[in-house]
Symmetry: C4
Subunit: 178 residues, 4 copies
Amino acid sequence: MIAILITIMVLELRIPEGADWNAVRPVMPVFITYVMSFIVLGIYWNNHHLLIHAADRITGAILWANLHLLFWLSLIPFATGWTGRNNFAPLPTAVYGGVLLLCAIAYTILLRTLIAAQGADSRLKEAIGNDAKGYTSLAMYVAAIPLAFVDRRLSWTLYLAVLLIWFIPDRRIDKRLS
Amino acid sequence: MIAILITIMVLELRIPEGADWNAVRPVMPVFITYVMSFIVLGIYWNNHHLLIHAADRITGAILWANLHLLFWLSLIPFATGWTGRNNFAPLPTAVYGGVLLLCAIAYTILLRTLIAAQGADSRLKEAIGNDAKGYTSLAMYVAAIPLAFVDRRLSWTLYLAVLLIWFIPDRRIDKRLS
Amino acid sequence: MIAILITIMVLELRIPEGADWNAVRPVMPVFITYVMSFIVLGIYWNNHHLLIHAADRITGAILWANLHLLFWLSLIPFATGWTGRNNFAPLPTAVYGGVLLLCAIAYTILLRTLIAAQGADSRLKEAIGNDAKGYTSLAMYVAAIPLAFVDRRLSWTLYLAVLLIWFIPDRRIDKRLS
Amino acid sequence: MIAILITIMVLELRIPEGADWNAVRPVMPVFITYVMSFIVLGIYWNNHHLLIHAADRITGAILWANLHLLFWLSLIPFATGWTGRNNFAPLPTAVYGGVLLLCAIAYTILLRTLIAAQGADSRLKEAIGNDAKGYTSLAMYVAAIPLAFVDRRLSWTLYLAVLLIWFIPDRRIDKRLS
């Protein structure tokens, strides 16, 4: 379903009316946010894929934790389009961060639910460790949201920083479980 | 395909024109119905997933019963968008309930067709039992539709009640078949 | 991909502007064509699914025959929307039939390519037999297209007749191969 | 995900307002570009499918190379719609070629990453050989982009030529690995 969300998002890139560079200009902020959200959803896609395959048991609680994550991810195209069309205004910037924060929280919940279901000495638990990367991201999003009303560039710098932290697929899972 | 429907539904969340809270306000009813329909489709997704995996034999009749269910589910995004954009007006509220009722009937037909195809002493038949949960939901939807023209809040309360009944994946199947 | 096409098609069901029956009325022809195209695509989905699973060998020619079928199927949502919004006018009716004809031809090509690739005494060849059902459908579509400019009801009766012929999944494949 | 992109692209085929041939005429350039992009994405779909199945090991780098390819492929519906609606104007023609070039580069990167991950004497490496077909396509796209501002027909002839080169699925992989 994350693949579908990524593809749906491209529909927010409205086709310019004219055929010259002036017509392309208003599409640029939408394009920049599209690139960013594509990478965010790509990171979730890769890690989610590794996570689900690392699980030996699927329970009802895991199905709901997964659906909960998909709910917040499904709002990314909306938040992306709104930010892009309003030239990174403060409120859409904060809402974009809020959606990212809720996605990150939902991912953490899914991770905890998965680990709990696998039993005490699972490979998954060992592979994730203390999840410093996850908690650092949450803290950075929490800081970025109010900063949108101070200086939007601070928020976008933080969103970008989280992106860079996660750019590499979760080697913890990748290495220990393969 | 249910995953695609959920994702398509997010396209009904039209991006607000402005970048302040006033611009967000008209999106709120659509957002509330989006959340509700997301959960409804999520419940069908989880249970449908468990059902199909519990079946040992797939026949032509099952394929059609499945397609019949998907037809009514495919109208949920339409009914959701119509209700949300008209502030929960009576007719869209009744139509929304009608679509939910027809989905529930189609699910019951699929369930019966699946059980019939598995033979007399199947695990699936035993797991479902007398399907009290399914028939209660049908009765509640039948009551909710005419109530939309009396007081819409009664209908929405009933829709929400059915949601809560089904929120937990079908433990009957989950437990006995795993 | 047929599942995605079916779901995309629901986007043609534009949400009515008002909340009363008058607002619903203009949506009705689109809804009727939606139901019909849903069944058409559903028939292709079921039969395509059985076909692909019945194949023991996949070649480059099969991949292209499959993509060719998907191309014509991908035009069904477009033809459906055009017909529905123009109240079954002659030209859209003929174009709708033309798309259905080309889908049926592409399906026949895929079927022949698959049989050829499986070798002389394949189960698939035996199961399909002389394909009377396929060739009857082609003849009915060829007749229906020019009739759209005489009396549109004749065309729609023929489209509906083909639908009824195919409503049951291809028992030939279903029975002999399961 | 390539299947979803192809299907999303059909949404660019806006339904004509009237029901006669005059209403269809403005849709024609969009239809022609739709056919072309459908074939381009179909070629990627088929080859991508063969590539992924030919890989014995999937690493984090492969996942990212894959996502990188999907990013550029996701812009094809946008570039297609822009070109089609502006009657093959120079700038959209050049941008369309630019997107195709970046897709081809990303495909080459994915191919190299896959080969590197499979080890020195992999079947994949042997099957691809010196990849003359890939590098010829890149050269043709590089030539076609500036030519869009000289004579657009030259660009479209080159795009079409690359299409013909790739029309047959990658027999190198198909034959040696099956």
